[in-house]
């Protein structure tokens, strides 16, 4: 039954794609029928996923598609159900959002039909990836997802940046896909057949298992945007329409993580400890570098994209811990890390989508992505401001919201390092945790910058000053996500008890005390090791705040509005505010070698006073000069060299065939 629901949702999504062919003539068709269908399918998918998760079923079906001897195997189990629910939920929210947002393209050179068709295919691809139960179906769905999202990235193809990003994105996706395909191929080589069941049976020697792991890690890591192969992500995600960015950053990355979990934890099975170490390093590096780069961005959506890299890094760190613990014989702790990863995936999907939708709302009302030109929006977009604030608190992993819970779980897992025998690991893991702590602190700084510059202070440009609050559907969608961020932060115990079935299924280990612990108390290992009760905390903070407020209310409040204190000079203007760049300046100076930055200040001064000061700052991603450009140049070089073969002189050509003939004759005799 849940499976048929899931299939139904996919059919609905595809149907929406079909309908959109007609939307160029009838925009209302797009805004109401197509998006409505998408929203409904999203809800259906969520229902299917949650259902499977709660009842912990494992349903399979074979569609008569694909190859005659290899039909499409589809399966819906707890793991895929969980991610299915995430995808469905975000699909629902974003399509609700798009009802108002898509007006933006009403009178633009870009057609609704393109948007609708490829959005449908994109979502269908993601859902199918989650359902696929054999390598062939998986690859088809995976590449479908990549290809259709490429068309969404280049949707506004008149801007150079979109085209560049699109090409880079598709290239990276293709390379990653091929690597994943190869990893499947190896497993097929040792097992029989492409169905996941057969791959599970495949008996791999540690070497081959490591090769599979390496290929899968590269392929899925490419898609998830791990450092150093992340460079496509901050290019591609921001340039898509905002609700698509939300889908890509919030959901598609999760699909990549799902794939990684499926292949490494489920199909390969017996894990080696050094995999965990590798993932731990790469994950921590991604988290740290991701947030550091995010901190330097002044484009709201680029900033969010980089912070996606950070969060993916955090998730992979947790997975690395899980592998380490499992491979060293502590399945329960491993399961804890695993759960932390899952929970953070869920949370990231929620708040990252929320923030992207918020950024979209800002752009929708003020046509502005550049932080340096925003400011004071809290007065113009009051509701969006509240939701965005909630998003920022959550992503900065501050209590009592959801982001904090998953980070807390990861810390708790890391602190169980004493259980390990190897002293090296016992030392490395806390250091990684410290790196995570640094990441968290930087994240707070980063989102203070984002929110403070964008929403607070004085408006820095005219059109920002005249921005107006966005429409109902956009607000509603953000509200839903904000509320969810709050709820998942307040009732983590319930969620984790539900999720506990997944590691039980995948890793075949009962999960610590989640089953036992009550809804109020979150006690991952045991009550006297660590406990956390966000509900009570919330209660406390409300009570205290309220008491304080009451005490002050006892006597008549006398509040006077006055000008800002301007040190007696007068005339404080918006341009005197701290800018986004200056906000990040101290950190940029302290950690300067991280960025590939060039700063030029030229200052005209007559004898004493400066007349004009021109300041230029360019901050680039190091992965370009280090990784990408060399490969590009190499390929270019070969391509140019190989042209020599085609000299254009017929006698040379004849010589080729002549000598080839002689050579083969020589070989044959």
């Amino acid at each position: 039954m849940p499976l048929s629901l899931a299939l139904l949702s996919i059919v609905g999504v595809l149907a929406s794609a079909l309908i959109s062919f007609g939307t160029d003539r009838a925009p209302w068709l797009f805004r109401f029928v197509v998006l409505g269908l998408l929203a409904v399918s999203g809800l259906t998918a969520t229902a299917a996923g949650v259902w499977v998760l709660l009842t912990n079923q494992n349903l399979a079906i074979e569609l008569a598609l694909g190859l005659p001897w290899l039909p499409w195997h589809l399966r819906l189990d707890a793991l895929s159900g969980f991610f299915f629910a995430i995808v469905g939920l975000i699909t629902f929210v974003t399509s609700l959002y798009a009802v108002n947002y898509s007006r933006e393209f009403q009178n633009s050179p870009y057609s609704y039909s393109t948007l609708g068709v490829f959005t449908g295919l994109f979502i269908a691809g993601m859902l199918l990836v989650l359902l696929a139960d054999d390598g062939y179906a998986f690859m088809v769905a995976w590449e479908l997802m990549s290809l259709s999202s490429y068309f969404l990235v280049v949707y506004q193809h008149l801007n150079e940046s979109n085209r560049r990003a699109g090409f880079l994105y598709l290239l990276m996706a293709h390379v990653g896909g091929l690597s994943i395909l190869l990893s499947f191929g190896v497993m097929v080589g040792f097992g029989d057949g492409f169905s996941f069941a057969a791959m599970r049976q495949a008996a791999l020697s540690p070497l081959w298992a490591s090769i599979v792991f390496g290929l899968a890690f590269f392929g899925f890591g490419m898609k998830a945007g791990l450092v150093p192969i992340h460079a496509w992500l901050p290019e591609a995600h921001p340039v898509a329409p905002s609700h698509i960015s939300a889908l890509m950053s919030g959901v598609m990355l999760k699909v990549a993580i799902y794939g990684f979990i499926r292949v490494v934890f489920d199909l390969v099975g017996d894990l080696l400890w050094w995999w965990g170490l590798l993932i731990l390093f790469v994950g921590a590096a991604s988290a740290l570098l991701g947030i550091l780069y995010a901190l330097m961005q002044n484009n709201s959506k680029r900033l969010l994209a980089y912070s996606s890299i950070e969060n993916v890094g955090i998730i992979f760190t947790a997975l690395g811990l899980a592998i380490l613990f499992i491979s060293t014989g502590h399945p329960v702790l491993g399961a804890l890390g695993f759960l932390a990863a899952l929970y953070h995936s869920l949370n990231h999907a929620l708040f990252k989508s929320l923030l992207f939708l918020g950024a979209g709302a800002i752009a929708h009302s003020s046509h502005e992505y550049n932080l340096e030109r925003m400011g004071g929006l809290i007065h113009k977009l009051p509701y969006t401001a509240v939701f965005f604030l909630i998003g920022c608190i959550s992503i900065a992993s501050l209590p009592p919201f959801n982001g904090f819970v998953s980070e807390w779980l990861i810390f708790q897992t890391a602190l169980q390092t004493t259980a390990l025998e190897s002293g090296i690991l016992r030392l490395i893991i806390p250091i990684t945790a410290a790196v995570l702590a640094l990441t968290g602190a930087l994240a707070v700084a980063c989102f203070v910058k984002l929110y403070g510059i964008a929403f607070l202070g004085l408006p820095r440009t005219r059109h920002v000053k005249h921005a107006r609050e966005v429409g109902g559907s956009m607000l509603a969608s953000q509200a839903i996500l904000a509320v969810l961020c709050f709820l998942f932060g307040i009732f983590p115990a319930l969620t984790l008890q539900t999720l506990a079935v997944i590691p039980e299924k995948i890793l075949a280990t009962p999960v610590g005390e989640f089953a036992a612990s009550s809804w109020l108390w979150l006690t991952p290992i045991s009550a006297d090791v660590a406990s956390y009760s966000p509900a009570l905390l919330l209660l406390g903070i409300v009570v205290v705040g309220f008491l304080g407020w009451l005490l002050l209310r006892l006597k008549k409040p006398c509040v006077r509005r006055a000008d800002t204190w301007d040190c007696g000079f007068g005339g404080g203007t918006a341009r005197m505010q701290y800018t986004a760049t200056s906000f990040a300046m101290p950190i940029r100076h302290i950690l300067s070698p991280v960025w590939h930055s060039s700063e030029t200040i030229d200052e005209q001064r007559d004898d004493l006073r400066p007349v004009s000061i021109k300041h230029e700052l360019h901050i680039a991603d190091r992965s370009w000069p280090v990784l990408y450009l060399p490969i590009l140049h190499y390929v270019q070089w070969v391509a140019r060299r190989i042209g020599v073969v085609q000299t254009g002189n017929i006698r040379v050509y004849l010589m080729y065939s002549f000598f080839t003939l002689l050579a083969i004759l020589w070989i044959v005799t």
């Binding site: 001897w69 690859m139 065939s657 044959v668």
Partner: protein
């Protein structure tokens, strides 16, 4: 009067008729109609062949089995759709005065003659006759390549003529050697060139002679398949001739040449105990594949670029057939089908694109989606299909080929994947700017018939989604024929 007479007779009749007909518009229509009738006939033929699996005609001079009847249908089909495309295309060429009436007559009659030669080569049981047909096809296409009489087209035609002529001559030498080997073995000596006989007596042929023969045949037909380093004629011929010709060259001629090679390989494998033929084909296939994938970067002429992509895919097929495991052969057959469908569709769109922009140079074709969305999307989706993105059929065949490679030569699969990625990058970096972005001022939409593109791409798409049972069985029969062991 059997179906084969129709299949061969119609194009021959068309050749003569169109050679005499003056009015090029009527000729265009007739071209379509005759090709369509040929297609119909080949369908009927296929139906008769598929139930009793091998047929002989004209005292064994011709024969049909699953392999060549499938290629016959494919040839007739692509021939027809291309004819549909060529009608408006050539009309436009006449309008802008690139070709005159006389040459239009040559064009149409040669088009039919080319089809005839292809079908003859496919259906003949006699290797000598096969050779003759191939040579005839070369001659016909030489005329088509030089149709525009520009210095470039003359040059291209000359190179094509000499290179393929010499190559095919070597193929003839190979045939002679084969004949010589069979001469003393096969009782009825004038049957000694019949493929069916040769296959029957393959075991008794002198291995030395057959291996020598195979070398020459490989060089000979390999030149026509476009295997590196014998491929040099291919980009020139593709880029300078009229686009419908490029479509049929890529879609059909290369296939037929490869078909001939495989026929020979079957016999040689029968006589040799080593798998030398297979290794040679694998080597040249891989070489062409890798080389072409790099060639796709930094090209100036769009048609040249796609001709390199043809080389790449022919290399892939040759590699697959060379590998010779049932899975590989099945994959290669599938790849043959989807490649010729996709590639001819691409050439159709490319032809229109060039007419829109009035040039073949890549950096002058821009913003097709704005000028003529149908062409732009056609080109983009066709490219995505040929680059091996699912859910298109090319992905399926490449996937199977990769699986076969991993099962037999695991380390080669790394090379394959790398050059697949390189090739993809090469294709898209050139295509994307042509399709997206702002359009140049002088660009205007042309009267285009996108029906062939739609049909082809839909077919490829459906092959990617599901391979119907009968087709699978059909391919399986062919696999059985080639490798001696089926897949299903």
């Amino acid at each position: 009067m059997n179906d084969l007479t129709w299949v061969l007779g119609l194009p021959l009749f068309g050749t003569l008729l169109l050679a005499l007909l003056r009015n090029h518009r009527v000729a265009g229509w007739l071209n379509v109609i005759i090709s369509a009738m040929t297609l119909l006939a080949s369908f009927l033929l296929a139906l008769t062949v598929l139930d009793q699996n091998r047929l002989f005609f004209f005292n064994n001079l011709f024969f049909l089995d699953a392999f060549n009847v499938y290629l016959t249908v494919l040839t007739a089909f692509v021939g027809t759709t291309t004819a549909v495309f060529s009608r408006p295309y050539m009309a436009h060429e006449v309008e802008i005065g690139r070709v005159g009436m006389r040459r239009m007559r040559i064009y149409h009659s040669m088009y039919q003659f080319f089809l005839f030669a292809m079908l003859l080569a496919l259906t003949s049981n006699n290797l000598g006759l096969l050779w003759v047909a191939m040579e005839a096809a070369t001659l016909a296409t030489v005329l088509l390549v030089s149709l525009y009489r520009t210095p470039e087209s003359i040059e291209a035609a000359w190179k094509y003529f000499i290179l393929c002529g010499v190559g095919i001559a070597q193929a003839l030498f190979g045939t002679v050697l084969l004949y010589f080997a069979a001469f003393h073995v096969i009782p009825v000596s004038h049957n000694a060139l019949l493929w069916s006989e040769l296959q029957q007596y393959a075991g008794q042929l002198n291995p030395t002679v057959t291996s020598l023969a195979f070398v020459f045949l490989l060089i000979g037909y390999g030149t026509k398949v476009g295997l590196a380093p014998l491929h040099n004629w291919l980009p020139d011929a593709h880029s300078e001739g009229p686009t419908p010709m490029s479509a049929v060259l890529s879609g059909l001629l290369l296939n037929v040449a490869l078909y001939a090679l495989i026929r020979v390989k079957i016999i040689v494998d029968g006589s040799l105990e080593t798998n030398i033929a297979g290794y040679l084909m694998m080597f040249f296939g891989l070489l062409s594949f890798v080389m072409a994938s790099f060639f796709l970067h930094s090209r100036r002429n769009i048609k040249r670029m796609f001709s390199y992509s043809s080389i790449e895919h022919m290399g892939l097929m040759t590699f697959g057939f060379g590998m010779g495991t049932p899975l590989a052969v099945f994959a290669a057959l599938l790849h043959m089908t989807v490649h010729s469908l996709t590639k001819s569709a691409i050439f159709v769109t490319v032809g229109h694109a060039c007419q829109i922009a009035g040039t073949q140079s890549i950096e002058h074709i821009r913003g097709l989606i704005k000028t003529q969305p149908s062409v732009g999307w056609g080109l983009l989706i066709g490219t995505a299909a040929i680059a091996g993105f699912p859910p298109f059929g090319v992905f399926t065949s490449e996937f199977l080929l990769l699986t076969a490679t991993i099962n037999t030569w695991p380390w080669l699969s790394v090379i394959l994947l790398t050059s697949l990625a390189v090739a993809f990058a090469g294709l898209f970096r050139n295509i994307q700017p042509m399709v997206f972005g702002e359009q140049p001022a002088q660009q205007v939409a042309v009267q285009a018939n996108m029906l062939p593109v739609v049909i082809h791409l839909l077919l490829v798409l459906s092959l990617g989604l599901v391979i119907p049972e009968f087709l699978a069985n059909w391919f399986n029969q062919v696999t059985l024929l080639i490798t001696g062991s089926g897949l299903l």
